[in-house]
C-alpha cells in the first residue's frame, strides 16, 4: 500500500488496537484470574498466588477429561493423517469422480457442526453403534479430514513430477519410490496437517456434545460445568491451555510455511 496521510494511519492503528484488545480480553481475564483473586469483577492485585494451579492438580474430573481429550486427539490425528494422505495420493492427478468426492470430504467442514453432529448421531443409532469414545473419534476424524487432505494435496501438487519419474528411471519399484521419494517429500505437510488436526480435535465441542457417551472431553466437561459457574482452578487450566495453543501455532507455522518464504521474511 502507498504511504497514507497521518490522520488515517492513526485511525487505522486505533481500530486495529481496539480489535486486538477485543480479541485478547477474553484470554486475558482468566489468565489474570489464575494468579490473583477476582470477586465481582474486581481484581485483588495485592496477593499473587499459585493456589489455583495447586487446586487444578487435585481436580480429578478435569484431569480425566483432559486425558480423554488427549486420547481422542491422538486417535483422530492417526486416523485422519493416514486416510487423508491416502485420499490425497489417490485423487491426485485423477479426474474421474475427484471433484465430487472432494466435495463430500469438505462437507462436514463446511456444514455447521450441529448438522454434521446430528447426522452422525442418527447414523450411529441406525447402525446400532453405542455412543462412546469411538463415536467421538469417528466424528472428529470426519470433521478434520478435509484439513489434512487439503494440506497433503497442496504439497503433492507442488511436488515435481520429475522426482518420481527419475526414481522409476533409476530402476526403483513403486514401493521404493513411495517410501524414499514421495513420503519424505510429504512428511512436513503431514506433520503440519497432524498438528492442525490435533488442535481442531482438542477444541471441538459441538459435534462431541452430540455424539459422546458417558465420557466427556475437556471442552464438553467445561461446557457442562459452566452452567454452575467455574471454580477458580479452571483459570489455571485456561492459562496452561493458552500456552500449549501458542506452542502448537508456532509448530504448525514451522512445518507449513515453505522454507524459502521463511528465509525471505527474515
Amino acid at each position: 500500500m502507498s504511504a497514507l496521510p497521518r490522520p488515517s494511519t492513526i485511525f487505522l492503528a486505533a481500530i486495529t488496537t481496539l480489535v486486538a484488545v477485543l480479541l485478547y480480553s477474553p484470554l486475558f481475564v482468566p489468565i489474570v484470574s489464575s494468579f490473583f483473586t477476582v470477586s465481582h469483577g474486581d481484581v485483588d492485585w495485592s496477593s499473587p498466588t499459585f493456589a489455583t494451579y495447586v487446586a487444578l492438580a487435585e481436580n480429578h474430573d478435569i484431569l480425566a477429561a483432559l486425558r480423554t481429550t488427549l486420547i481422542v486427539g491422538v486417535c483422530t490425528v492417526i486416523l485422519s493423517v493416514v486416510s487423508g494422505t491416502l485420499l490425497a495420493l489417490y485423487y491426485h492427478g485423477r479426474r474421474a469422480g475427484r471433484s465430487t468426492l472432494q466435495f463430500i470430504i469438505f462437507l462436514p467442514f463446511l456444514m455447521p457442526p450441529i448438522i454434521s453432529g446430528l447426522a452422525l448421531l442418527i447414523f450411529f443409532r441406525e447402525i446400532g453403534l453405542e455412543r462412546s469414545l469411538l463415536t467421538v473419534v469417528i466424528g472428529h476424524t470426519v470433521f478434520v479430514l478435509a484439513i489434512v487432505y487439503r494440506t497433503v494435496l497442496m504439497r503433492l501438487q507442488s511436488m515435481s513430477r520429475t522426482l518420481v519419474e527419475a526414481s522409476y528411471d533409476l530402476g526403483a519399484t513403486g514401493w521404493q519410490t513411495f517410501w524414499r521419494i514421495i513420503l519424505p517429500n510429504l512428511s512436513s505437510a503431514m506433520v503440519g496437517g497432524a498438528i492442525l488436526a490435533f488442535a481442531l480435535s482438542f477444541d471441538e465441542t459441538m459435534i462431541t456434545i452430540l455424539v459422546t457417551g458417558t465420557q466427556s472431553t475437556l471442552p464438553v466437561r467445561l461446557w457442562a460445568m459452566m452452567r454452575l459457574g467455574f471454580s477458580p482452578d479452571i483459570n489455571a487450566l485456561v492459562a496452561l491451555i493458552l500456552m500449549f495453543t501458542v506452542l502448537l501455532c508456532v509448530l504448525a507455522a514451522r512445518f507449513l510455511i515453505p522454507k524459502q518464504m521463511a528465509t525471505q521474511r527474515n
Binding site: L23, L101, A119, L222
Partner: protein, 290 residues
C-alpha cells in the same frame, strides 16, 4: 502409485484396496449419515418412539407454527448483523496490516489469528464474565461515567449473543480481507497516484472494489459460523435470547423430537448453502478469490 508402469500383484491388490477406501470412506461416513438425516426429517414421533412413515408433517409444522419462522428470521438477522459488525472492525484492521512492512505485517497477522485456536468454550465463559452485571465492561462504563449504575443490557439477551459472536468471529473476517487486499497489484495504486488521484479516490475506486471479493468471503464465513452455533446462545442468551440453533438443539435433548429437529436442520442447511454459494459467487469474481 497405481500410475506406476509395472506393478506387482501385491501392489495391485493394495491399489484396489485404496480405490475402494477412497470411495467408501467419504460415502459411508459423510454421505450416508446426511442421507439418513434427510430421511428422518420426513418421519414423525408418536409417544416417544420414532414412526418410520414418510410425511411432510414436520415441514408443514415449521411453516405454520407462529414461533419457528419468527425465530428463524430473527436468527438470520442476528447473524447478518454479526457479519456486518465483524467486517466493519476487520476491514480497517486488515487494511492497516497491509500498510506494514515485511515481518511486522505477518507477525501482527499471527497475533490477530492466535485467539482462533484458543478454546471456544472458555472464551464464551470469559466474555460472559466481562459482559455480566458485575463484569469488567459495566465496571468500566460506570467508572468513566457513561452509566450511572451497572446495566443489564449486555447479559442474557440478544445483545449478549451479538457481542459474543462478534468477538469470537472477528479473526475469520480478518484473514480473507487481508488476503484480498494483499493481492491488489501495487502498480495499480501507483498508477492511480500518478494520474493525480487523491488517497481517498484511490481507495474508493481501486482498493475498495478490488477487495470486495474478500469481504464477500469474510461475510459468508462469519455468517455460516454464527448461524451454526448453539453453544454461544445457550451460554449467554438467557431466556430472552432464543435462537434457531437453540431450538434445534432442544429437539434432540429435552423435546426428544428427532424428526422435527432434522427438518429444522434442513432449513438451516438451506440457508447455509445459500450463504456459501453467495460468498463463492462474489468471492470468485475479478479473479482474486482465496
Amino acid at each position: 502409485m497405481s500410475s506406476a508402469g509395472s506393478v506387482r500383484p501385491a501392489e495391485n491388490r493394495l491399489s484396489q484396496l485404496v480405490t475402494v477406501l477412497a470411495f467408501a470412506l467419504p460415502v459411508v461416513f459423510v454421505l450416508v449419515p446426511l442421507a439418513i438425516f434427510l430421511g428422518y426429517s420426513f418421519f414423525s414421533v408418536d409417544q416417544g418412539t420414532i414412526v418410520h412413515d414418510l410425511s411432510l408433517g414436520n415441514y408443514i409444522r415449521f411453516f405454520t407454527d407462529p414461533v419457528f419462522p419468527r425465530v428463524f428470521w430473527n436468527t438470520i438477522v442476528l447473524c447478518l448483523s454479526v457479519a456486518a459488525i465483524c467486517i466493519l472492525l476487520a476491514y480497517p484492521a486488515a487494511y492497516f496490516l497491509t500498510t506494514l512492512k515485511g515481518r511486522w505485517r505477518y507477525a501482527l497477522l499471527m497475533l490477530l489469528l492466535v485467539p482462533l485456536l484458543m478454546s471456544y468454550v472458555i472464551k464464551i465463559y470469559a466474555i460472559r464474565s466481562i459482559l455480566g452485571l458485575n463484569g469488567f465492561l459495566n465496571k468500566a462504563l460506570v467508572a468513566v461515567g457513561i452509566l450511572q449504575e451497572p446495566s443489564t443490557l449486555f447479559v442474557f439477551n440478544m445483545n449478549a449473543i451479538l457481542l459474543t459472536l462478534t468477538l469470537l468471529l472477528i479473526p475469520f473476517a480478518i484473514l480473507p480481507i487481508f488476503l484480498s487486499l494483499e493481492r491488489i497489484p501495487q502498480v495499480l495504486l501507483r498508477a492511480s497516484d500518478d494520474l493525480g488521484a487523491s488517497g481517498l479516490q484511490t481507495f474508493l475506486r481501486i482498493t475498495l472494489p478490488l477487495s470486495l471479493p474478500g469481504v464477500a468471503s469474510a461475510a459468508s464465513f462469519v455468517f455460516v459460523l454464527a448461524i451454526g452455533d448453539f453453544l454461544t446462545p445457550q451460554m449467554v442468551g438467557g431466556i430472552s435470547g432464543f435462537t434457531f440453533g437453540r431450538i434445534l438443539y432442544s429437539q434432540f435433548g429435552t423435546a426428544y423430537n428427532w424428526p422435527f429437529g432434522a427438518a429444522l436442520s434442513v432449513a438451516l442447511a438451506i440457508v447455509v448453502i445459500a450463504a456459501i454459494l453467495v460468498g463463492e459467487r462474489f468471492g470468485r469474481s475479478r479473479g482474486t478469490s482465496i
